[in-house]
């Protein structure tokens, strides 16, 4: 729950500017980007995600290092990705 997970923005949703489609460890889900302060995001940008919300924009190097680390911790990260896979955040 407290893990910040890096995700790559795949698509900004035109009809819901507070949501973006994000790829996280092969899972593609809608993530809320409404908390990013004065930062515009575009496909290819990386964000740090907490429980469905992007809390900060990060660079690709940091994202890759964070992913390596998360993959190394095992169960806790697997559980988080499994929960994300079940997530159904979407428009509407």
């Amino acid at each position: 729950m407290c893990l910040g997970i890096p995700g790559e923005i795949v698509e900004i949703l035109n009809d819901r500017p507070d949501l973006a489609m994000v790829a996280v460890s092969g899972v593609r889900r809608a993530i809320n980007i409404g908390l990013l302060e004065d930062e515009t995001v575009a496909p290819g940008d990386w964000i740090l995600i907490h429980v469905g919300f992007a809390l900060s924009k990060i660079d690709e190097t940091e994202a890759k290092a964070a992913l390596d680390f998360l993959e190394s911790i095992g169960q806790a990260y697997d559980d988080e990705i499994a929960a994300l896979r079940e997530s159904m955040i979407e428009q509407g």
């Binding site: 729950m1 740090l48 429980v51 809390l55 900060s56 940091e62 997530s87 955040i89």
Partner: protein, 375 residues
């Protein structure tokens, strides 16, 4: 050394460890508290304590959101879940947390509709799909998760989802750190500051630690090297006679935090006069509740909450573990009566809890455990 040796930057870590050793004043012992449960997880998983000189001890702090929820609040949530037409939702970590009358999983087995969600937005979605049900989100966590709850409530209000409410158990990190600093049980030399909480609150709120208590604090990232680097920064400050707030995790944590996230919290929630923390007791102004303007989405106003206090089982020493007074393996029931499968205390439930982290990884350092038990 197993996990450290597996770590890709083992060479860098060893070099850093040597510099840490060189900074230790002969004959002096140092105790640093890592506030965040995520850091505790890294420390045990990567065997970082084996890397540090004997003079440096890492003490685990209260920054595990599931661990600090008192049993009475779990019972209150189960009471809400047992009301007619209620769907209770919460994060997976919450499901096995024991209350006085069992956990969410036990209540579910007795017929309550309790569902695990990844995000509060998922709970909102369930509310939209079930207009005849009252959907409650049991919100837990520090400032890392509070903005997500607040944003979800704002969305519920905007979309007119009146059957969605929040049972708010969000806590704030600064009063907990202050309670630990004021506790006579423990003398600390500095803090490894929480990384993701600081993404939201920034580094300024920690200044009182340096100013009023004369202790250094370094906000740290979650990789093994981040933690070793932070220990190095703490020791450097002490060696130079400085006490400051430093940000080792500046690549993610802005000095001023995330003002938009703070604004969302302030819009939807307000400080409670006091809140009970498991192990730490009542701490004033240390938790958030829904403000009156959002009463429609406040489970504490919608449902009658028993609000009973339940003492922890006498065998459980989570309180001492959360305050850093005891190491997990020093608890009487650690690994015997209390395991991740059948937890007695909260510290054994969440993967961020010190006991669960130590149970899962720390035991590989057998020699160290034996050493520690002998002391």
């Amino acid at each position: 050394m197993r996990f450290v040796d597996e770590y890709r930057d083992a060479g860098t870590a060893k070099a850093l460890a040597a510099r840490i050793t060189a900074l230790c004043e002969p004959g002096r012992a140092y105790k640093f508290m890592e506030v965040c449960g995520g850091h505790t997880h890294t420390i045990y998983k990567h065997g970082l304590e084996d890397y540090l000189p004997e003079a440096v001890t890492l003490v685990h702090g209260p920054g595990c959101p599931v661990c600090v929820i008192p049993m009475g609040r779990v019972d209150d949530a189960i009471h809400i879940a047992s009301q007619p037409d209620v769907i209770m939702t919460s994060f997976g970590d919450m499901m096995r947390v024991p209350g006085g009358n069992g956990s969410f999983l036990d209540a579910k087995a007795r017929g309550a509709d309790i569902r695990m969600v990844y995000s509060p937005l998922d709970a909102l979605k369930i509310a939209k799909q079930n207009p005849s049900k009252r959907v409650v989100f049991m919100a837990i966590g520090f400032e890392t998760t509070a903005p997500s709850t607040a944003m979800t409530v704002l969305r519920a209000k905007a979309d007119g989802v009146d059957n969605f409410s929040v049972f708010c158990n969000h806590v704030t990190i600064i009063p907990a750190i202050k309670a630990i600093l004021d506790s006579p049980d423990l003398r600390l030399d500095g803090f490894i500051g929480p990384g993701h909480v600081s993404t939201v609150i920034g580094c300024r709120p920690y200044r009182f630690i340096a100013r009023d208590y004369g202790k250094p604090i370094v906000v740290a990232g979650f990789e093994p090297l981040d933690i070793l680097q932070s220990v190095h920064q703490l020791l450097t400050q002490l060696a130079q006679g400085r006490c400051e707030v430093e940000n080792q995790y500046a690549r993610v944590v802005p000095w001023d935090g995330n003002p938009k996230a703070l604004a969302a919290i302030n819009e939807v929630m307000e400080l409670r006069p006091h809140f009970e923390w498991r192990g730490l007791g009542f701490i004033s102004q240390s938790a958030l509740r829904m403000s009156a303007a959002y009463a429609r989405h406040d489970a504490e106003r919608i449902f009658r909450i028993p609000g009973g206090r339940v003492a922890d089982p006498t065998s459980c020493q989570c309180g001492e573990v959360l305050k850093g007074v005891l190491k997990p393996w020093e608890c009487k029931v650690f690994g015997t009566a209390c395991t991740p499968e059948t937890p007695i205390g909260t510290c054994m439930v969440s993967s961020e809890g010190a006991c669960a982290a130590y149970y899962n990884f720390g035991r590989f350092s057998r020699e160290r455990v034996k050493e520690a038990t002998r002391q």
